[in-house]
């Protein structure tokens, strides 16, 4: 039997919301033992009351909504969870014992928090010189904004991405998903692997300082260079793109149904004209080559839409793809979940969560031929792995655990 690549790595996950949990999800998928260290008073999984806006199975929060949130359960599969109050001295002592036997600590508090706990990098490094500490924050661990707060959407604004994710001459909108968080999570997981390999070569751990804003700018380099070269700033341009010759998004026959189409050269343009039965406009001067299409984009958009509006987006996609045209239906969550391609690729996995029931989950983000990975276990319930971690890993006696419970250092249910 082949083991998973990271199955000897133990990660203490103090992170909340999206960026950090997505990083540790990726590492857990590849075999790392990720232990979520959660507070009984402030956890993003929520407390005894249902969270506004949260999605629960069949709309029912149940008695323990904190074990049934879709948001939490998607991001935290393959992980373990303990409850530990780091604001108490005794809680920090237990945490330090865990640091001794772990490889990575990942946190995304604002930068002052770990220091206030007395758990900043120099302290953790002294306990375990091999420890890799990843600190994810909005603006980074240093600089005048270090203690400024932001979620991913604010970071997209501060990075120039919201400004250009906009319709032509429209107001700034930004991505409709937590894009800066996902991007930071991916870079953070990559940073962990870089640091692990460095440790394998040198025996030394290190501190990673990852700013959401900087890791998002890494995906906008061509704009930064264009500004450096030409002193100009990109503008919102709808679905056009400076690095793509011609493309757009067109209305189809159904309700809110759309298709994206891209044309990269004159051959593809000809195939598209053929596929839509060569209406007379395709013969007109200025409408029969890519240069002309680029000059008359809006008019061409309307003419293409006269064809797409007669088809639903799935059949339009099939017709166009069969003619070798870059076309993709704009899918919603329902269509993606039943998409035949993703199904056949095994992208989705059926998982039974003891308190949330059986559902279809998005699975591995990629396929490794020898070490494919899968959802080995559902997201943990609150404090589910207290016995394993405190008892088996740390050897804390049952009496001592009872004491810690009485002192409120560990708990079995969230308080709020």
């Amino acid at each position: 039997m082949i083991n998973l690549p990271l199955d000897e790595i133990r990660i203490l996950d103090l992170s909340q919301v999206y960026a950090g949990p997505y990083a540790t999800r990726l590492l857990a998928d590849m075999g790392a033992e990720v232990i979520r260290v959660e507070s009984a008073v402030r956890s993003t999984r929520g407390g005894p009351e249902p969270q506004p806006g949260a999605v629960y199975p069949d709309g029912n929060p149940g008695e323990r909504p904190y074990n049934r949130s879709a948001y939490y359960n998607e991001l935290n599969r393959n992980k373990l969870a303990i409850s530990l109050d780091l604001s108490k001295e005794k809680g920090r002592e237990v945490f330090k014992q865990l640091v001794k036997i772990s490889d990575v600590v990942l946190e995304n508090f604002t930068p002052r928090v770990m220091g206030n706990f007395g758990l900043d990098y120099p302290v953790l490094n002294e306990i375990n010189p091999k420890i890799i500490v990843v600190s994810i924050s909005a603006y980074g661990q240093t600089g005048p904004y270090r203690n400024y707060v932001s979620f991913g959407r604010g970071i997209e604004a501060m990075s120039g991405l919201s400004d250009i994710t906009a319709y032509e001459d429209g107001e700034p909108l930004g991505p409709g998903i937590a894009y800066a968080d996902a991007t930071a999570g991916l870079h953070a997981a990559f940073a962990v692997l870089i640091a692990l390999r460095h440790r394998r070569k040198t025996g030394r751990g290190q501190h990673i300082d990852l700013s959401l804003r900087e890791s998002l700018l890494a995906l906008m380099g061509e704009h930064v260079l264009d500004h450096s070269m030409n002193k100009r700033s990109p503008k919102g341009n709808g679905n056009r793109d400076s690095s793509a010759p011609f493309q757009g998004c067109y209305r189809c026959s159904g309700d809110d149904e759309w298709i994206a189409i891209a044309v990269h050269n004159d051959d593809e343009l000809q195939s598209l004209c053929n596929a839509i039965d060569n209406p007379s406009w395709t013969k007109k001067e200025g409408f029969n080559n890519l240069l002309g299409w680029q000059r008359n984009q809006r008019e061409i958009d309307n003419l293409i839409e006269q064809w797409t509006i007669q088809h639903d987006n799935q059949s339009a996609m099939q017709i166009l793809q069969q003619s070798g045209i870059r076309a993709g239906a704009v899918l919603d969550a329902a269509q993606i979940t039943s998409d035949p391609h993703l199904k056949q690729r095994g992208f989705f996995e059926t998982v039974t969560h003891p308190e949330a029931g059986t559902h279809t989950y998005p699975g591995m983000s990629w396929k490794l031929s020898l070490t494919p990975g899968k959802i080995r276990m559902p997201a943990p319930c609150f404090a589910q792995h207290n016995d394993y971690v405190f008892g088996e890993l740390l050897g804390i006696s049952e009496e001592e655990c009872m004491q810690l419970k009485t002192q409120g250092v560990i708990s079995t249910v969230p308080i709020r």
Binding site: Y56, E74, M158, L161, L193, G238, I336
Partner: protein, 389 residues
């Protein structure tokens, strides 16, 4: 050179445009030797996409190429010729990692692995190496459409919008770099290589902020809603006196009302805020309309409210936080000159990243063909004459 974490690894990079190049850019910046193989006739397509200085096309001055290929070596090779294929096979035997994004079927993992069993082959494609869409033709916008991102981005009464820039490609690139590092870590321990199959569509479907599991849990189908957060209020973009600001009270409505000195906001129950957005927005907007963006941003932060400025790319290089952290770097290039580039996506205490430039087309032909593979200068001239290099 400092012993960087990947300085013992060689990458054969057959990819072009954005996804593969961003992946190998990350590997190169942490020390890997990346040999970028470009077609002798013009090289990587990103050399032709720009932007260019003064909009004058020049394959050595494309912003997209210059950014994505720092710290790499470039050789020219037409490996679709017989001789070219033989040379490629020689290269494959000398490297640890191969990265390609030519589409399914161009490279056969089994025959590559027969020559070099510990090789890690990374194939990036829009839809993956198999399945009903595997022969579909893709593009960045096509992947953003089919993966669900576009349906969630843009205004409800407008066409769906893509995230600006080749973001689907970038996402595939960072996913590929992470998958490669995982496979390298496994190989370090076991000696085994493997084949990595990256589908752009799947990378994107993995980051829909819960939209897929939400649907599975209770049938929720989120609609695109401009700059608004799907559940929290306010978390949206609104105009102020001199620009746009991301207004955000999602941490605490009472603090928000205090910050705005508008106690009447407290008449709203925090749980109904999102649905009453149409009613509350004008109250916030009229307050913002009288105030400067910079001032509101910093004052809100004093109240620990996660406000943010909607900044243009032109404002970034002089931003005090970026300056204090020395984020942007100046890199010199023999033709494009000194330009400003984004720095590393994260800072480390132990491994300084490389700060080299992108290569000229075929700049390292002599080094790779002669020094590494043992061809003579005459051989190289002959290959060039045949159009192979």
């Amino acid at each position: 050179m400092q012993d960087l974490p990947l300085s013992d690894l060689t990458v054969l990079d057959l990819s072009q445009y954005v996804s593969g190049p961003y992946c190998t850019k990350l590997l190169a910046s942490f020390g890997a030797e990346v040999i970028k193989v470009e077609h002798p006739n013009g090289g990587d397509v990103s050399r032709r996409y720009g932007a260019f200085p003064d909009d004058t096309p020049d394959i050595e001055q494309s912003a997209l190429f210059l950014y994505l290929n720092t710290n790499k070596k470039s050789i020219t090779l037409d490996y679709e010729t017989q001789t070219g294929a033989r040379i490629l096979a020689q290269l494959v035997r000398q490297v640890d990692i191969l990265v390609e994004n030519s589409g399914p079927g161009m490279f056969d993992y089994d025959s590559l692995a027969a020559d070099n069993p510990s090789l890690i082959v990374t194939s990036i494609s829009y839809f993956g190496q198999d399945g009903p869409y595997c022969d579909f033709k893709g593009a960045d916008i096509i992947a953003q459409a089919l993966s669900g991102i576009m349906n969630l981005t843009g205004l409800p009464d407008h066409e769906p919008l893509k995230i600006a820039g080749p973001q689907a490609e970038y996402q595939a690139g960072i996913n590929a770099a992470l998958a490669i590092m995982t496979a390298i870590y496994f190989r370090d321990g076991t000696g085994h290589g493997q084949h990595i199959d990256i589908s752009v569509m799947e990378c994107l479907a993995s980051i829909l902020e819960g939209a897929l599991l939400n649907f599975s849990y209770d049938g929720t189908l989120r609609q695109r809603d401009g700059a608004r957060h799907p559940t929290m209020y306010p978390s949206t973009i609104l105009p102020c006196k001199d620009g746009y600001i991301h207004a955000d009270a999602s941490t605490d409505w009472e603090i928000f009302a205090g910050f705005m000195e508008m106690p009447k906001l407290l008449q709203y129950n925090p749980e109904e805020l999102r649905e009453k957005a149409g009613e509350i927005d004008p109250l916030i907007s009229s307050w913002l309309a009288k105030r400067d963006m910079e001032d509101v941003f910093h004052r809100a932060q004093e109240w620990r409210l996660p406000f943010a400025k909607v900044m243009g790319v032109d404002e970034l290089p002089n931003d005090p936080q970026f300056v204090a952290r020395d984020f942007f770097t100046r890199i010199d290039h023999p033709i494009a000159g000194q330009q400003t580039y984004p720095g590393a996506p994260f800072k480390t205490t132990e491994c300084e990243t490389r700060k080299g430039r992108s290569p000229l087309l075929g700049e390292h032909n002599a080094e790779i063909y002669c020094d590494l593979l043992g061809y003579t200068n005459q051989d190289l001239t002959k290959l060039r004459g045949m159009g192979i290099t």
